[in-house]
Symmetry: C2
Subunit: 420 residues, 2 copies
């Protein structure tokens, strides 16, 4: 499929659109593809974003095709006048435009399924270059194209993320796998609740792994991800090396790793609650509903998530959750005592097996010398347990909220793990 | 500052890091800078992301400096062994490394303010190239650099977003303004609650504006943004053209435009509630807490946001909000009647002036023929008003939640506008 003498296939991604170079949208197609190509054992040499300018598009594609086995463009295939990618390629590859009956049929079906007839402006999307392979797109109205030059491949995809992903998986991932070159493998272990330096201190010497895997430490404000990469003679050998390395980390830091690869804390918690047949409710304050939002991003969460309350005022904490007035008066709304009373109150009032609560000062205002911005208490209440932790988050309002929600979900996870 | 004969300065952004080309992080520094450069009247010709590879970094920078007045790199200035940007530049510009006492002092202060002493591994960050201007960084430990070649400028910034933004505004934005070339101006009008085709139908002919502004339509699942761009002989003339164009749109679609530029719906609602001295509470179901989360992202929201309840189960809807059991039995939990009862119940129980409610089927499961996935009812209850709207959102779970939250906030905004 791709001609190359080197160990790894090399790719370049080109994102096309004025909305990218003017910062009007956050380009994310290239992140998806870079990650997926990497997983498939393809090395992404670079990612270039350019505007809808004919000469720029042509130059960047020509240069990329000289250097890389796989070049992928996204964007500029829509029906409006500033979508010029197809026109540029038709010139570059001296293509004759022809109508593809299957593409026309696909577009007609696309609109029919939405109870509409094909609009006039969409019909030209069925005109394709005669010397390109067509990448049929069931998710939208713009087909993709595959051009070849000197054994290198140029994939031309639409910019709508849903359609780009569909065509990437349907064509590019399949073609890459056919080469049999994808012997590299990756695995990510997700941790949270510990600083990067303490994490690696606790893990200790990693030399025993050095021959088999490369290890990268990827910090963010929500936790540290450990990325393992291995290369084997075949898929089974690669996976075996990754399994061995994963076991090493699972032995060293069993409780710190909450999930693998794309797994989120809310997904893990959902599984734990289902497995252990436990119901959950949530009492929030400074997080404003973010914990409930994250938990309910999981399809099927209505099986275990009963309800959430965001008791933003003292009155709501007292009335809804039964937090004793004198606790708030004595210790303040942001205190260990209030967090515990919120979690216990929420559990009782909702009839859930577990309740988690958060109260804190998200900032940037509202801090005092005794209770600075970022001070946050998180409690988990169960029938046999009530845990409370104090945090001081050092960032801006939105990230403090995100860290508080992450910490609350993690504390809940650790308590759920203790149930037989 | 920058030597150029053309109307607009031309820039190129280079993001450096293996974590970008392997798709491990979503690169967003370039989006921030592209947007800001565009606002300052600088044309961003392209954005390139490359890994931490010496020859790649050198080639991309050399090429960019041949073509662009302003070249900005981010990333690779940290203290670890894979941060090689400074080393590459030192070679490229034949620099002598020297210690900068002010940088050392800044780093020591940075750690002292956090109650720490400077760690050994951070000390080399005070070694700088002798022939670069130093961009002093109060927000972190890596200083930036400015190199010059043939009148073009190479700004070298750290990759931490907070530090990048600080140095961008402190140095680059200031340098650009000194050139006096920034006569281009932009303004964005944010709309929601209408499809793109209906929006432009309602606006009608825009020819009267054509001589003065360029207009772009930027759709997303949360609304359509209208972007106005104008170029004048000076800043006042540019702004006058934008004002005139804005008035045109405000006349045509006064209620559809909720804010300008970066203004969010939650920000606008916060201002309306403060202005009109109204208190708000929220009853959510399928949105899971997202509306409360968005409202509380605004600093000072405790002035008007009383509380939120996410009544995920029928029982919670009945017990917390007083939704009559027979309403749920007769019409179902996802119905106009339940949405109205939730909003009215929330308003009464919380003592707020206004309450907004959402009930729907976020998907991907849970739909029936009569009540498909995406069916959502949104209600707003006030002392003199109760409005309810039905929607069928066509996307995935997360985007359906986001659209429901956006629609709820917009319905609330429209009701608040009616208060004298």
């Amino acid at each position: 499929m791709f001609q190359t003498n080197e160990q790894l296939l090399k790719a370049e991604i080109i994102a096309i659109g004025n909305e990218i170079t003017t910062g009007l949208i956050q380009e994310s197609n290239s992140t998806y593809m870079a990650k997926r190509l990497n997983e498939e054992g393809v090395d992404v040499a670079r990612v270039v974003s350019i505007g809808d300018i004919e000469s720029d598009i042509e130059n960047v594609i020509n240069e990329a095709l000289r250097k890389s086995n796989i070049v992928i463009t996204t964007g500029g295939l829509g029906p409006t006048h500033d979508d010029i990618t197809k026109k540029v390629l038709t010139n570059m590859f001296k293509s004759e435009p022809k109508q593809d009956p299957k593409v026309l049929q696909d577009i007609e079906n696309f609109f029919r399924n939405r109870g509409k007839t094909i609009p006039e402006y969409s019909k030209p999307q069925s005109i394709v270059p005669h010397n390109a392979e067509i990448l049929y797109n069931e998710k939208g109205t713009a087909p993709g194209f595959l051009f070849k030059r000197n054994g290198n491949s140029l994939y031309v995809l639409p910019g709508v993320p849903l359609e780009m992903r569909h065509l990437f998986e349907k064509y590019i991932a399949v073609d890459v796998r056919k080469t049999g070159k994808n012997k590299i493998g990756h695995r990510i272990l997700n941790t949270t609740g510990i600083t990067e330096s303490k994490l690696w201190e606790q893990i200790g010497a990693i030399e025993p792994l050095n021959d088999n895997v490369q290890i990268a430490s990827l910090p963010s404000h929500l936790g540290i991800r450990i990325r393992l990469s291995a290369t084997g003679e075949n898929e089974a050998e690669t996976q075996e090396k990754l399994d061995k390395a994963e076991r090493f980390f699972q032995d060293k830091i069993p409780e710190l790793i909450y999930g693998k690869n794309d797994e989120s804390l809310e997904e893990i918690i959902g599984r734990l609650l289902l497995d252990k047949n436990q119901k959950l409710s949530v009492a929030e304050s400074c997080t404003g509903g973010l914990i409930g939002h994250r938990l309910t991003n999981i399809s099927g969460s209505s099986e275990y998530f009963l309800e959430g309350m965001t008791t933003y005022t003292n009155e709501a904490k007292i009335k809804r959750l039964g937090v004793p007035e004198n606790i708030i008066e004595t210790y303040g709304a942001v205190s260990r005592e209030t967090a515990i009373a919120m979690a216990e109150g929420m559990r009782k009032v909702s009839g859930a097996d577990f309740a988690v609560s958060v109260t804190g000062i998200a900032g940037p205002t509202g801090g005092t010398k005794e209770k600075p911005v970022g001070l946050t208490y998180i409690a988990v209440s169960g029938e046999w347990v009530c845990e409370c932790q104090q945090f001081i988050f050092p960032q801006d309002r939105e990230r403090n909220k995100e860290r508080a929600a992450q910490s609350a979900l993690n504390l809940l996870r650790l308590e759920l793990l203790k149930i037989d």
